[in-house]
Point group: C2
């Protein structure tokens, strides 16, 4: 893909500090020039300025594009844009590929059409597809027009695969051999190619019509008798993916079988491309992050240094949902205002029932979301799982409900109140476990991400139900 990394990972934080110091100095100089004016001053300042820039550029030249991307990810917006100006144009594409989504958006917004086109053209087709969602429509069209037929077809087909499929993660850097040649010939062929793609741990063995018939691991190529033919050492049982396969399942196959690269073929067995472990690692990272953000009700991968306005909007959808559900919970309490007026202790105790319900429900929902994501939960075992979670809830309800009941009794010297507290806790923990199971399962049935806003929905349920159960029981048993 590109030059080997030139900095050890432990020095990256130091690099950040150095770059930031250089950017600060540069800013200072600019401010001084603006303020003081005068030809002599300007001359001196310009000199310092140029030295500074040269130093910064030297620093950047020493870095791997991925490290520059990290710096851009970590720097606040204005410093990020100043650093971006110093990046060599020929690295633009590589770096755009590596930065996080939010940051890419902010960088692309600063580039003109010509720059974007140049950056994209420097990339492989599968890489162009990765950044395409952030490029303006006209740039993509111009790009498509400029590519040769094969590349254009590949780009169009990569763009046509939905996110989260193997097709979207696929690249085209495969090396193929025929089954009837000798290993000696295969090795001569590799030598003639000169440059081999990264993550190449096996050659794909194909027939004349590009039909995939097996793989030749480099390990085999390097150790078997050079006079034997590819057909003699070929591995025929291999993991092959289809472009429409779920990326999540492909990632699990990579984890399970410790794969480095695997072929992608169509239904008829025709080789289309390959999927490599570095794409899988990026996918695993991105999807586990998306899951976490999604549980908390954050719409997308937020640039840590997004403007306040943008960041605020990213959080509105779920805040709105939360406000709506909070009002429902509030109306539930409103139903019982008469009881609360009679016994204000109810108001003090009700958040305990709701809060512990929310907490246990969150434990359940986290386990379920994780189980669904890893493929651990199947129709065949779902029933047992539900019974187990209800069992845990009942056990915890008895124990903690009892404890809470005793505390309430001690606090208010009211045995009836203690009993109501105990019963309400027990029931709300059952509600919490059920909600913790039903919410992610329902979201999945609706073909949505099971983690989507699950925390918000769960808390809404345990709050409303907790208030209703506790205040309802208290009204019937205590204040009537």
């Amino acid at each position: 893909m590109s030059a080997p990394p030139k900095s050890a990972p432990e020095t990256l934080e130091q690099t950040l500090a150095q770059v930031q110091a250089l950017l600060d100095k540069q800013k200072l100089v600019e401010t001084l020039v603006h303020r003081q004016g005068g030809p002599r001053h300007e001359l001196v300042e310009n000199l310092v300025h140029k030295q500074n820039l040269a130093e910064l550029q030297k620093k950047l030249d020493e870095l791997h594009p991925a490290d520059v991307a990290y710096l851009l990810d970590v720097l606040p917006v204005d410093e990020r844009l100043r650093l971006w100006e110093q990046v060599k144009p020929e690295w633009d594409g590589e770096i755009l590929l590596e930065v996080s989504d939010g940051v890419r958006e902010s960088l692309v917004a600063r580039m003109n059409r010509r720059e974007l086109l140049a950056a994209a053209t420097a990339l492989d087709t599968d890489e162009i597809a990765d950044i395409a969602p952030d490029l303006p429509r006209d740039v993509i069209e111009e790009l498509l027009a400029s590519l040769d037929t094969q590349k254009r077809a590949r780009l169009q087909s990569t763009l046509s695969y939905p996110e989260d499929t193997v097709g979207a993660l696929m690249d085209y850097d495969m090396v193929t051999v025929r089954a009837d040649v000798s290993l000696e010939v295969a090795m001569r062929y590799l030598r003639r190619l000169g440059e081999l793609p990264d993550q190449l741990d096996k050659l794909f063995v194909v027939e004349r019509d590009d039909r995939l018939i097996g793989v030749l691991p480099l390990k085999k190529l390097l150790t078997a008798d050079p006079d034997s033919t590819v057909a003699q050492v070929i591995a025929e049982d291999m993991v092959v993916f289809r472009p429409a396969d779920d990326a999540r399942e492909a990632a699990q196959a990579f984890e399970r079988y410790d794969l480095v690269a695997a072929p992608v073929a169509d239904e008829a067995g025709k080789l289309l491309g390959r999927i490599t472990v570095d794409a899988v690692v990026d996918y695993i990272r991105a999807s586990s992050e998306a899951e976490m953000l999604s549980m908390a009700g954050l719409k997308e991968d937020e640039d840590l240094f997004a403007t306040v306005w943008k960041a605020a909007r990213n959080r509105w959808t779920w805040l709105g949902v939360n406000l709506f559900t909070a009002f429902i919970a509030s109306r539930v309490i409103g139903l019982f205002e008469g009881s609360i007026e009679k016994l204000a202790a109810l108001a003090a105790l009700m958040p305990i029932v709701a809060g512990i319900g929310g907490n246990t429900g969150n434990q359940t929902i986290t386990l379920i979301i994780r189980g669904l994501a890893l493929g651990y939960i199947q129709p065949s075992n779902a029933r047992r799982l539900i019974l187990k979670e209800l069992g845990v809830a009942a056990l915890n309800g008895l124990l903690w409900g009892g404890l809470v009941g005793l505390l309430a009794y001690g606090l208010y010297d009211n045995a009836g109140l203690g009993g109501v507290m105990m019963l309400a806790m027990f029931l709300n923990l059952l509600v919490a476990a059920l909600a913790g199971i039903v919410i992610p399962f329902t979201l999945q049935k609706l073909k949505r991400d099971p983690a989507l806003g699950s925390s918000v929905l769960l808390t809404a349920t345990t709050d409303s139900m907790g208030f209703f159960i506790f205040l309802g029981l208290a009204t019937v048993l205590l204040t009537h």
Copy 2:
């Protein structure tokens, strides 16, 4: 590591269904034998039973150990143990390595010392170290005694590295060459080795004293002139890790530089082992899971089918913390029982203030935990981040606080109440943002996992403070 996978990933769910059907049939037959008795019946049933077992074993033989591990992970405890009995002893070690922690515990509990010893002996030293925490003390001691000197030293040193360091992820399957030999000779050497380790994408070039001086990528070995020496094509700038390096940073380096394998050396540059992408993938998966579980207040990777008793205990620590904090919140409300008696609407409105605070705080804390985990948050940019989150909170506080205030005004036809609601929301969103930043930072300062129970701690803060701010303001401004 082992035989190539024999089943495509898309059929694994079907395999599960088949295995479960066989296990069910087996159980049915056993029940019938028990119930009916009689020599003739027994004979027939035994025949069916044996056929069944044979079929099950044939099925298992076709599977990759990692797939068997998946089945064991997914099956409820009793079926899991029955399947485990059918696994060939020579696969025990490999499978123990692959199953999840909770499941491994349940399997190890069923094995005797001799079986455990046999299973562990079949593994590499770095693999033994992975399962060692779940093995009984006496098995480990016997194991250490049975290993040769080099293996024993390696096992002991791997065990001595803390979890989450490169040393704990390291393996010893490296292939080394000298710099002064020709590529031709290096290739002949590989052929003589016969079997090469998995994930081998480069040879490590060492001096006579095992000092690492560079790496020779297989790509280079395959394409460069066979008559050139290793020294001529060596890559000297490479990513090298120390055993004490943070595993998190190593994983980030693998992601950034798309590594497949990298050498691990000591301070003096002596080659100790290597770290491979499959270990990194497992680490990334495990640590992102741990983070999710930890946020929700779950102690450890829970076996989805753990007994109710065990699962309940796994959740007690944080339930206890939650109960304690809920009582504090309750006492806060208790302080204002007089005001609530006068104006019961306060009881109905206070959960809105607390709930939306909890929700926004969770959004902030999720972003911060993620930023810390990815190394995006550094001392140099922390201040800006705090200002941004406070800005978002203030903006959202004005907007949503205003909306909530209007709703409260409309609902209770009480302008004062609306105003108090607005002000309380605004202030509690600021508290939520601060808590969302301070909690993970403090946990990190205390050298704890920043995600540890963070959700529970955050909700505790936003609840107590939300009640205090709202009821306090109402008491001062409305009911006095």
